[in-house]
């Protein structure tokens, strides 16, 4: 198992490297370099950079040098100092800007993930064991709707219903008094009170997907001879279900954690914009609008790394749940 973990972590390195390259390419993509934008912005507000500051900035980002040198400087900053560069729009370090928002994003995403599991798993099992029952039809068709509705449409509809029928807005994640407060237990509690709406919106499509996966794979398992054997030997239905087929059927579930995470980050970005949540999503949008590429690229990079870590965890979990994988010589 240890060997498997080691190999899996080693495999991560090229992936992370490629992601960093892609993120950096995105930072470089917009025409004109970062410094020209800075000078232009400052000039608009009537400020000017003197030559010393300009030269210092140039040195810091390796501007004017080949792209790979700039990349190396960016990477070195991240690895050695945990610094993702400077946001020229806010004129503050990227790390400082995203720290608080990132923790909120992670909490929100993980809670959504737990939500999708807690709802999707039982429904999937129920649907499979009660195939073609009324509730199964209800769940299956609801999951179809869930998959077809873009997250932001769901958010808009819920906002509308909230305003019209309850007379209050669901936007935001904190009560006013906690919005800018430092993290504390009370703030966390306050967040948990507001989190339910984004949770439902963000979790719907994920839950729908999981229900379908779980139903499908469990149905496959239920038709296998070992289930009939177990039943013939007189095992109780309940024990029979939980002891074998569910454990096997859960595999595709576990193996998709990484992707689920990616789609949660993905959908969460738009939901956050619609609901005005203080996550990294809206920050990234405004950064892109202002062509503040170090900020935007870094956010993309961090989200992707978190996804890769999620995939790693899901692979390790899978190896733990399913011994075939770790003994097979650790294929992908």
């Amino acid at each position: 198992m240890l060997q498997y973990i080691g190999r899996r972590i080693l495999q991560m390195i090229p992936t992370v490297f490629l992601i960093s390259v892609i993120s950096f390419i995105l930072i470089q993509l917009p025409p004109g370099d970062y410094l020209t934008s800075i000078v232009a912005t400052l000039a608009q507000s009537g400020d000017y950079l003197d030559q010393d500051q300009l030269a210092q900035l140039k040195r810091q980002y390796g501007l004017g040098q080949p792209v790979y040198v700039q990349y190396a400087k960016w990477m070195w900053g991240i690895l050695s100092r945990g610094s993702f560069g400077q946001s020229f729009f806010w004129n503050r370090p990227v790390t400082e800007l995203i720290a608080d928002r990132l923790s909120i994003t992670v909490i929100l995403t993980l809670t959504t993930m737990i939500f999708t599991w807690a709802v999707g798993l039982p429904i999937g099992i129920y649907s499979a064991t009660h195939q073609y029952s009324k509730l199964d039809y209800l769940f299956t068709s609801t999951s179809f709707i869930g998959l077809a509705t873009p997250d932001f449409m769901l958010a808009l509809i819920l906002l509308y219903l909230g305003v019209v029928y309850l007379g209050k807005s669901y936007a935001g994640l904190f009560s006013p008094e906690f919005a800018d407060a430092p993290w504390s237990f009370a703030r966390l509690v306050d967040m948990m009170k507001h989190i339910i709406v984004p949770l439902i919106i963000g979790g719907t499509s994920g839950t729908a997907g999981l229900v379908r996966i779980m139903r499908g794979s469990l149905l496959d398992e239920l038709n296998k001879p070992y289930v009939i054997t177990a039943r013939a030997k007189g095992l109780s239905e309940r024990k029979l279900l939980w002891k074998y087929p569910v454990r096997v059927a859960i595999n595709p579930f576990v193996s998709t954690i990484g992707w689920t995470l990616a789609s949660l980050f993905s959908g969460g970005t738009i939901i956050a914009v619609v609901l005005g949540l203080p996550t990294v999503g809206p920050l990234m949008l405004s950064a892109l609008m202002a062509q503040d590429m170090y900020l935007a690229g870094s956010i993309l990079f961090i989200m992707s790394i978190l996804t890769v870590i999620g995939t790693l965890i899901s692979d390790l979990l899978l190896a733990w749940v399913d011994p075939r994988i770790r003994f097979e010589g650790g294929g992908r």
Partner: protein, 386 residues
Amino acid sequence: MSQSEVRAQTLPEAEAPTSAAEAEEKVLTASQWQLMWWKFRRHKMAMFGGAFVFLMYLCAAFCEFLAPYPLDMRDSKHVTAPPQLLRWRDDEGNFHLRPFVYGLKEHVDPISWRRTFTEDPAQIYPVYLFARTHPYKFWGLFETKVHLFGVKGEEATIFLLGSDSMGRDLFSRILYGGRISLSVGLLGVLLSLVIGAVLGGISGYYGGLIDNVMQRLIEVLRSIPHIPLWMALSAALPPGLPPQQTYFGITLVLAVIGWTGLARVTRGKILSLRDEDFVMAAKICGTSETRIIVRHLLPSFFSYLIVSVTLSIPGMVMGETSLSFLGLGMRPPYTSWGVLLSEAQNIGNIAHRPWILIPGLFLIATVFAFNFLGDGLRDAADPYTR
């Protein structure tokens, strides 16, 4: 399940010949596509989905004719008007053979000074088929004034789904928006298909190092959250770009991720088909490589490719909508459903005129239909098994 039972299932009831033996014979001699069609037809929801998708594309193709107003026709006297119902019976209970809409009456809220409209039963505007109203150029080919329906008179309006903040008819704009949203889906998928089939084919055919590198690249692209990546890529499109190039740019951006799924399908199918008995048999018979590929391999995985293509179109459409909704997608005069929905970003707008959410319903219905269609196609793709 026995062989004959499987066959009996693939045969539709309507065409079922009188005796089972005849049915057997018919199945045995039917071509692969025939079998697929029979199987597909059994899937009612898929048939319905397919019909709906076809209808939507038809609407998109003929939107100039179907829409009562041109895309950017502004009616400054009737901004944010609510939907006008198409009626056959007026308030006095008289039945009109020709449907009509009530005119709009303006109210000004004495406190907030907001202008609102209500339907005014005093004004009745009959709706005419093939009305000659606003001129347009059909497909850029010839000038005409004929619309499918319309109302006559200077003051007459027909806003079936309401109007927006500039007094433009939402129904017309949804039809025009469908043209952009739906064609982006189709074009993006075609692009993805070309890239995906070529790269996936190479990956599956050569295997080894190339395959390894390709798989890793796909893995990397898939672990980057889609919407943020799309956002970053489309933000990189220069802002001064002509709208037409932005349109193609967005399509390209969507294809950057879209190809990975199709490449996986192609690679997987090629890998599994290479070792199939019928390929071996063809080889032993001395069939040439090209003939094996064209005559045996291609038809075998073509159906799977169609399925993946159908199932990835809704993702593209949703992607474009999301981008345009955020303001990073299409730019005027190219109007897509996402552009229309972006007016709904303001919660005040939604509360006062909920009809601006209607483009979203079109989107959901289309995605829904595509999913059903794809599901049916997936079941039909392999007609020889259940």
